[in-house]
Amino acid sequence: MYKRYQIETSPARLSLTTIGKFKITRDNKCLNCGRCTNLCIYDVHKRDAEDLRKMAEPASHLCKNCFSCIQNCPQQSLRMVKNEEYENLGNSYWTPEMIHTIWSEAEEGKIPVFGAGYRGPFKGPGFDEIWTDMSEIVRPTRDGIHGREYIATSVDLGRKLSWIADFEKFCFPNFYEIQIPMLLDTAPLGFNSKNLILAIIQAGREIETFSFLDVENYFDELEPFLGSIVLRATLEGIADLDRTPWREVNFIEIILPNKFRASQLERKLEELRSLNRKALISLALEDPFPSEEILKQFQEQRADVLNFYANIRGRSSEGNIFISDSIRKLHLDFVKKSIRDEITIIGKGGIAAAEHVPKLIICGADAVVLDLALLVAMGCRVCRDCRAKSCPAELEKLVPEFAKQRIVNLACAWRDQLLEVLSAMGIRDVRRLRGEAGRAMFYDEIEKESFEFIFKKSGLSQ
């Protein structure tokens, strides 16, 4: 029977992620009159359970910034300041807002819905320079996530040949469908505990996608999950091919060094293919604008997937190019050669919010790889100090089943938001979103188009 794809969520609360944005302080002018307990509809203010004559410490993490208590306190004894602990989360790319959002998505599995309009800057760097489109009237019925119409989020990984050049030598390219255009990475930062790896891989299995695993981190308990694992190694790391994982996995990734000999790659691939005929082969690059030579290798070696690696801020290690720019160029390079469908392009690095997924797909990726976002879902604060005993999120104590649920919740929330974006555009299949740059607005282009007359006149036109 036909089954509609659905992700099952269930609440998974983590006590370490209740860091409020604000801090409410009460000074000694307070008369314990209790007016604030009546005014606050979020239960920030309560009487002290042990001594009802007194007020308890305000539960600041519940505060939602409404100022009702502060503006009505007869003694002016309440004040609100920013919570430093919150302000110090993350960094300039992984902002406190993003981390907070991921936490609540991982907790509830729901789309963040709030009142009032947009509150942020007009535009920001990277993904924040892109707006996606919508269409007003002339599209068929759709109601997004609430709706009657089904929007497909599955994508195919593998080569789709345009034609068969030589029937004699032809063998079917491998091909796998994943249900959401997101793959998971088990090595998001320095942290690589077994529990963490297991949680991510189990989540990947449950939501029907692949999880990347460095071959040196493989352990036997993972054997039942081999079908959902992308086994990853450097070119030199492809050794001990007799071991089970190499033979059983459906997907292998080789990280290409900046310089390598084509013959070496060819030999390794031949070895792999003779041993495992069903695995997709992905070649990973860190070069934001790879040379013609290298791109030719992808075609000649019949690579199924190209995976572009950026750092956790979405930038290339060389040249500081943002991932959306690299992917856009890669996509167009293959389009120009009329071989775009003969390779799957995915990108990893800097995917920190739900909107980054459709935006990278619009730039030309078939799917994206989630890395640090998974760790954040488990409670990470992006402090970049990954040592087992000092982790403020106590990641070393994670229970795999619980951590898995948080990742599943995150995936569900992000998929639902992808559906929102697709439905606004009138697109019913995420595969049709790929490379649809015409259905997006890019800051530089639209700013020039709209305001050139103002800036030109003043000599500021770039």
Partner: protein, 490 residues
């Protein structure tokens, strides 16, 4: 305009919020000098009391006050007054609505006068769009009051030859906010303010409460995709009918009222089941082409031949085509709602990422309508992130005829933009709520006066600005992009 009186409408809260923290040290012996000299009424000694207290720190303009001879902290005989920047101030507002903008809007709503200089009341801190432009001022001498009086800020809402002529004295009207998203007292206040000014407010999509009938000449009713509370009676009642295709904050996603706010009263008005979440679908399921759209407009004109038709759309990349289509379908007003606009509830992802900011859309549509040769037959209204009188003026300079205001009015009523309108009991400040207890915080008469005052201040600002641009009429400003310059350039 004549007969519109700005009257003091003080804050309904005990304590104000301000930029500065003022404290009296132990040295204070309550002489009361500061109470006498402070022109802003920061200090207070209640009748029959000996103690002086800091009653209204929110009113203190801080260092700006030093220019006067009455600066309290220097005059205090025992130097007991301490004035310092208030860290609490930073917890207010955001990039688009800076703490200054919120406080300045409160001040204007309170007094009906232009906000004082210690608050930046013209511009936000979003770093783009409106916040990136300023006007090229031509005349820097302060205009005479006669010159200001002679300036017209009136616009017409029907520029076609047929149909009734409707003019509004100020180039803006109130945006659609439904019963359910906001409370009835707020709707009433908006209608009262609209009537006082001779402009309009809109019911939004949630029915037309009977209490608004006395103000029917100033109430636009909305027909949106869920058709909640729409019937022949309400359509016959309204001088302007607004078709809402999409909303800027959630373009392409339809409306959204979470179950918490769907109270018995709201459900009755909308003819739905109390406590269920209500979704207006997207799009109109009977409109898949401009021809279908025309059919819709014809249908309304059969029911109410007198009414003007406004078409509210958000801002996709082909918004110019949509606008021209609406013109040919017979609309009188095309209302563009940009991506950064307000909402009672919307997915966060939609607010920033889907559809373009209004600044781009105005330019695009205005130019396209000009090219098509139909610009002078249709009224272009802009909304979605228009916060101040200066934003209105900038929209007009970019090519709109006027603006539609939503959030600005709510801020005038005391909204702090805490973003919690959508669930639970709704707005803790009694504005965007259907909670019978919370909504009591707002009295319609007081709230109407706040909005009237804000409008008064805005009109003053527009008139002053027009004087300084050497224009006599707001309609002369339309499309004058030559009067705009990037802000970082002197």
């Amino acid at each position: 305009m004549n007969g519109i009186e700005a009257r003091k409408a003080a804050s309904r809260f005990l304590n104000g919020i301000g930029k500065f923290k003022i404290s009296l040290s132990e040295k204070c012996f309550h002489c009361g000098l500061c109470v006498e000299i402070c022109p802003s009424g920061v200090f207070e000694r209640q009748d029959g009391f000996n103690q002086v207290r800091v009653a209204n720190p929110g009113q203190c303009p801080g260092p700006d006050c030093q220019k006067g001879t009455f600066f309290c902290s220097k005059k205090c005989p025992v130097e007991a007054i301490k004035i310092e920047p208030d860290p609490q101030w930073k917890t207010l507002g955001d990039f688009r609505w800076t703490p200054d903008l919120i406080l300045a809007t409160w001040e204007q709503a309170e007094t009906g006068e232009i906000a004082r200089d210690h608050l930046e009341y013209r511009i936000g801190a979003s770093g783009g769009g409106f916040d990136n432009f300023d006007f090229v001022i031509k005349s820097s001498t302060p205009p005479s009051s006669e010159a200001i009086d002679s300036i017209s800020t009136s616009i017409s809402l029907n520029r076609r030859r047929e149909g009734q002529a409707i003019k509004i004295p100020i180039p803006w009207y109130g945006a659609g906010m439904s019963f359910g998203s906001v409370s009835l007292p707020v709707m009433l206040a908006r209608a009262m303010a609209a009537q006082a000014w001779g402009t309009f407010t809109s019911t939004g999509e949630g029915g037309y409460p009977d209490e608004l009938i006395p103000y029917r000449n100033c109430v636009i009713t909305q027909i949106a995709t869920g058709l909640f509370g729409v019937n022949e009676e309400t359509i016959k009642r309204a001088p302007v009918i607004e078709f809402k295709y999409a909303q800027g904050a959630k373009p392409g996603l339809g409306g959204h009222l979470l179950g918490d706010k769907n109270s018995a009263e709201v459900a009755r008005m909308r003819e739905t089941v109390c406590g269920t979440s209500l979704f207006s679908p997207f799009p109109f399921h009977s409109v898949y082409s401009v021809e279908d759209h025309k059919k819709h407009i014809d249908w309304v004109k059969v029911i109410n031949p007198e009414a003007l038709v406004s078409v509210k759309v958000s801002t996709p990349s082909d918004v110019d085509m949509v606008a021209v289509g609406s013109y040919y379908a017979g609309a009188n007003i095309i209302h563009l709602d940009g991506g950064y606009g307000g909402t009672g509830a919307a997915p966060e992802i939609a607010k920033k990422n889907i559809a373009m900011p209004i600044e781009y859309a105005i330019t695009k549509v205005h130019r396209f309508l000009l090219q098509e040769g139909v610009r002078d037959e249709i009224v272009l209204m802009a909304s979605g992130g228009i916060r101040t009188a200066y934003d209105i003026a900038k929209s007009i300079a970019l090519g709109a005829d006027g603006a539609v205001i939503g959030t600005g009015e709510l801020v005038a009523l005391g909204c702090v933009r805490c973003t919690n309108c959508e669930s639970g009991r709704g707005c803790p400040r009694g504005i965007a709520t259907t909670d019978p207890e919370l909504e009591k915080q707002i009295s319609p008469a007081w709230a109407a006066q706040r909005i009237i005052n804000l409008y008064a201040s805005w009109q003053k600002q527009l008139k002053l600005l027009l004087c300084r641009l050497e224009l006599n009429d707001i309609t002369e400003l339309r499309g004058r992009t030559d009067l705009l310059r990037p802000i970082d350039e002197k």
